[in-house]
Symmetry: C2
C-alpha cells in the first residue's frame, strides 16, 4: 500500500522495482531473467508480468560490471567512412561480430593521427572488448595493446609497425604489379603514377609494385610522371593535368586508389585525352566509364570479416597475436565495348 520506495516515474525501473512488484527478492528476478531453471513457475510468471507492466529491461552495463565481463562492443576506427572501401570493411566487421551478439562502435579518424590517438584512447577507457583500426600513418605506438589497457587490436589494410598485433591486408604489391603489367602488355611504355603518401604501408607497397613491373620490363622510372600526395578526387584531377600537360606525356596511368582513379578519369575526360588507366580498387561505375579501365579488385567485406574473426579469436584466447592475413586481389579489365583500344 505504502511502499518505502516511491514508484519509478521517469527513471528506469530497476530489478528491485520488479521484485517489489512481484513480491519476490531481486535475486529471484535475476534468476528468472537469466532463464535459470531454479525458479518456480508461479514466481516466474509474476515476474514476467511485472517486467512487462513496468517496462523493465535489465541494465547490461551493471550486469557486465558485476560479471567482470566487458561491454560486448567492438571499436572500429577508420580513416574515411565515405570511401566505399571502408564502408564495406565496416559492413564485414558488423555482420561478423553481430552474429556473436557484439555491436560495433564506429569512429572516423579523418586521416588525422591526433584524432586517431584520441579515439583509441577513448575506446580503451570505455572498455570496449577490442579494436579494429585502419591506421592513418605508420606510427602505431598508440595502437599497442600495452598502451590500451590490453585491449585486443587488429589492424586492417596495414601491417603493424613496431608493435605486435594481428593484421589483415590486401596484396597491395602483387595487385599493383599485375595491373601495371597489363598496361605494359598492351604496349604502354610511358606510364604515370598517382599514389598515396609514401609514409603509409599501402602507399609504399603500391608504389613498389608499380616500380617492380616497370623495372622488369626494362622501363626507366620517370619522376615527372609520378605524383604521390592526392588526398581527394580534386587533387587527383589536378595532378593528372600537371602530368599530361608535359611534353611526351604518359600514355597510361596507374592510380593507387579509387579516389585517384576517379580524379584521373575526370581529368582525362576534361581534356578529351586517350590515356589508359589501371587503378587499385574496383568501384560501382567502373564498367560504365567509356574507356578501357583495368582495376585491382578484392573483397573488402571479406577483409572486414577476417579482421573480425581474428579479433574474436583473440577474445577467446588472448595469447595468439601477431598473425598476418593477406586477402588476394584480382585484376579486372573494363571498357571492352568502347571504341578505344587501350593501346597507345
Amino acid at each position: 500500500m505504502n511502499p518505502s520506495r516511491p514508484a519509478p516515474t521517469t527513471a528506469s525501473p530497476t530489478m528491485r522495482d520488479v521484485a517489489d512488484h512481484a513480491n519476490v527478492s531481486p535475486m529471484t528476478v535475476s534468476r528468472a531473467l537469466r532463464d535459470d531453471p531454479g525458479v518456480s513457475p508461479g514466481n516466474r510468471a509474476r515476474i514476467l508480468h511485472a517486467v512487462a507492466a513496468l517496462g523493465y529491461r535489465r541494465n547490461e552495463s551493471a550486469r557486465n560490471l558485476r560479471l567482470g565481463r566487458s561491454t560486448g562492443l567492438i571499436g572500429v576506427v577508420i580513416t574515411n567512412l565515405a570511401n566505399p572501401f571502408y564502408t564495406q570493411l565496416a559492413l564485414g566487421i558488423e555482420s561478423y561480430v553481430g552474429e556473436k551478439g557484439l555491436r560495433v562502435v564506429v569512429a572516423n579518424s579523418g586521416e588525422d593521427i591526433d584524432r586517431e590517438r584520441q579515439l583509441v584512447n577513448d575506446f580503451a577507457s570505455r572498455r570496449l572488448d577490442g579494436l579494429i583500426a585502419v591506421p592513418t600513418s605508420n606510427h602505431h605506438q598508440h595502437l599497442d595493446p600495452a598502451n590500451l589497457a590490453h585491449m585486443p587490436v587488429v589492424l586492417a589494410a596495414s601491417p603493424p609497425h613496431r608493435i605486435t598485433v594481428d593484421s589483415v591486408m590486401l596484396d597491395d604489391f602483387g595487385g599493383t604489379w599485375e595491373a601495371t603489367r597489363t598496361l605494359i602488355d598492351r604496349g604502354h611504355h610511358r606510364i604515370g603514377f598517382l599514389g598515396l603518401p609514401a609514409s603509409t604501408w599501402t602507399g609504399s607497397e603500391r608504389f613498389r609494385g608499380y616500380c617492380a613491373a616497370l623495372e622488369e620490363a626494362g622501363i626507366t622510372l620517370q619522376d615527372r610522371y609520378i605524383r604521390r600526395n592526392q588526398p581527394d578526387v580534386a587533387a587527383a584531377t589536378h595532378a593528372t593535368h600537371t602530368i599530361l600537360d608535359q611534353p611526351h606525356p604518359p600514355t597510361a596511368l596507374f592510380t593507387a586508389n579509387n579516389r585517384n582513379t576517379i580524379g584521373a578519369y575526370r581529368a582525362i575526360r576534361d581534356r578529351n585525352a586517350t590515356t589508359a588507366i589501371a587503378g587499385f580498387d574496383d568501384f560501382e561505375f567502373a564498367d560504365l566509364l567509356q574507356l578501357p579501365l583495368t582495376v585491382v579488385s578484392y573483397d573488402a567485406r571479406q577483409l572486414g570479416r577476417e579482421a573480425a574473426r581474428l579479433l574474436c579469436e583473440q577474445l577467446d584466447n588472448p595469447t595468439i597475436v601477431g598473425r598476418r592475413l593477406v586477402i588476394p586481389t584480382s585484376v579486372i579489365e573494363y571498357g571492352q565495348r568502347s571504341d578505344w583500344t587501350g593501346r597507345p
Copy 2:
C-alpha cells in the same frame, strides 16, 4: 613489501591499485583523475606517475553506473550502410555527437524488420543514450520510447507513424515533383516511374510527387510505365527493360532513388536507348554518365547532423518531442556536354 592484494598482472588495474601504488586512498585518486582542485600537488604527481606506471585507465562504465549517467553512446540503426546516402547520414551523426564526446554504435538492419526490432531492443538494454533510426517499414511500435526504457528516439528519412518522436526527413514530395516537372518542361509526355515499396513513407511520397506533377500537366498515369519494388540495382535494370520493351515506351523515367537511377541507366545503356532520366539522390558519377540526367540533390550529412542535434536536445530536455524537420532538396541537371538533348 608484502601487499595484501597481489599486483595486477593480466587484469586491468583499478583505482585501488593506483591508490596503493601512490600511497593514498582511492578517493584521492578519483579526485586527481577528475582534475578536482582539492588535491595536493605532491599527491597529484605521485598519482599521475602511478597511473602511467600501471597503465591504468578509469573504467568509464563503472563511473557511468555510479553517476547514474548513461553510456555516452548513441545507437544508429540504418537500412543499408552500403548506400552512400546512409553512409553520409552516419557521418553527419558521428561528427555532430563526436564533438560532444559521444560515440556512435552503428548497426545495419538490412531492411529486415525483425532485425531492426532486435537491434533497437538490444540498444535499449545496453542503455544507449539515444537512438537514431531509419525505419525499414511504416511499422514503428518497436521504436516508441515507451517500449524502449524511455530511450530518446529520432527517426531519419521518415516521419513517425502512430508514435510520437522527433524526425528529420527530406522533401520527398517536393523534390520529386520538381524533377518530374523538368522532364515535362522538356517536352516529355510518357514518363515512367521506378519506385520504392508503397508501404514506406519515402516510397509513397515520391510516388505522390510524380503523380502530382503529371496530373498538373494533364498527363494520365499509365500503370504499365510504373514499377515500384526494385530492392537493388539488378532489379531496377530488369524493371527498366520490361518498361522499355513495351510498345510506345516512355521517353523518360523518374527513378525514386540512386539504386533505381543506376539500374535504369545500365538498362538504357545496354539497349542504346535515348530515354532521359530524372532521379532522387545525387551520386558521385552523376556528371559523367554521358546523358542528360536530372537529380534531386540534398545534403545527407546535414540530415544526419540535424537528427543528431534533435537527439542531443532531447538528452538535455526529454520533454520536447514530436518535432519534424524537413531538409530541402534542389534539382541539378547534368549531362549538358553530351550530344543528347534530353528532349524526346
